[in-house]
Symmetry: C2
Subunit: 226 residues, 2 copies
Amino acid sequence: MANGSANCLFCNNKSVCFNELTDDELKQIEDNKVEILYKKDETIIKQGSFASNIYFIKKGLVKIYIENSDRNLILEIAGKSKMLGLTSLNHTKHYKFSVTALEDIVLCQINVEVINKIMITNQFFNTQVIKSLNSTIEKILDKLHCISHKQLNGRLADALICFSDEIYQNNKFTLNVTRKDLASITNMATENVVRLLKEFNDKKIIKVSGKNIEIINYSALKELSK
Amino acid sequence: MANGSANCLFCNNKSVCFNELTDDELKQIEDNKVEILYKKDETIIKQGSFASNIYFIKKGLVKIYIENSDRNLILEIAGKSKMLGLTSLNHTKHYKFSVTALEDIVLCQINVEVINKIMITNQFFNTQVIKSLNSTIEKILDKLHCISHKQLNGRLADALICFSDEIYQNNKFTLNVTRKDLASITNMATENVVRLLKEFNDKKIIKVSGKNIEIINYSALKELSK
DNA sequence: TAATTTTGCTGATATACATCAATGTTAATA
DNA sequence: TATTAACATTGATGTATATCAGCAAAATTA
């Protein structure tokens, strides 16, 4: 929970965003950031609260989700190098989503004013921030497309592909999320996640054993995704 | 179709974005923009094409939608002062959506390089662009929430509230869209739009007569929206 | 003006999916 | 280690919503 002795200048977890900052700019960030450890299941960002900080994940996975009285919708499972809370760049805004830790997390919380300042002085950084915003838009558009146009098996296939290609970058992985979370990712009932995982397993598309999943027939998944 | 004699300096359709530009900056835009007229049903942006321009709507309504082989999803009905195509700010990107005219449109097409240049020289403008990106994110998140959590009547209620509050800014309006479009907005079958409009009409929540709609019981709609 | 296409409307039917209920299994806590 | 709670699983049932079919009305085109 302590402000990092961790020095921004020599930080080897820097996102592309920070790559081209001058030493002076990095110093500014260092003076206005804290490094924080979150334990599994702790809330990092709470939906509805004032958006006044930028977060940068150094280690571990989080889930970003829209809260709802009955049922949540997970927008993204994100990990190392993810910037969170860019909503804060424009003041007087509230977070539209919550973020909680799926495992132990190390992140840097950076004061939004410094980010705003450096966006003025450093054109490259400014571009990177806009890129990040655009990529967020792209991601949630994909999500929207997936949920509005595809049916259950396609949506689950999409989720599995995402885990394999992006989150774990391995066709064999151990889930950090529950079946209920999988249901929140794909916007279906938990029971259907279970049933479909079994069906995929029986069809030898994937191999499921508890939280361990191995993708056997990738192209079949891609086909289901359509 | 001609480059406007329309002078940016004296344009009275300027969006907030352009409000604080210097005369010189406005001149730069003027030299790198064309004013274009689109007729009803013409395509302004085609999904999948290279994103290389910024558009600014001066007059008329457009629909922004995700194309899909079987069924489209309308993200937004937008009008005067809307900036389109900010995806272009980062190069080598394709549009993730299409835009077509719902009526005769006047818009300015601005070269993305000038926009990028002015974002460097003018901090206020830069902030406005980021605000615009953030507001896009917020809108899509709302849509995602609506489609994933609400059922048919709630989704249609949402759409009607949006028409009344934002698009037409009047509780009595004449739709520029077909029932099929309404179905694409709410992600339901066209038949259900018809049935629900009739039901709302019978319950004296709204008064429907063809494309003319009047909202009678606004609070009932708000209730349905939950 | 007639002919054709698109849009709007209505009821009947089908189905994808959620919900419910019941039970096993693992993980957290005392 | 016992106790509780959260998670996972399976089958049976219900329902919201899509699909289909058929026709009327408007709008476009010939």
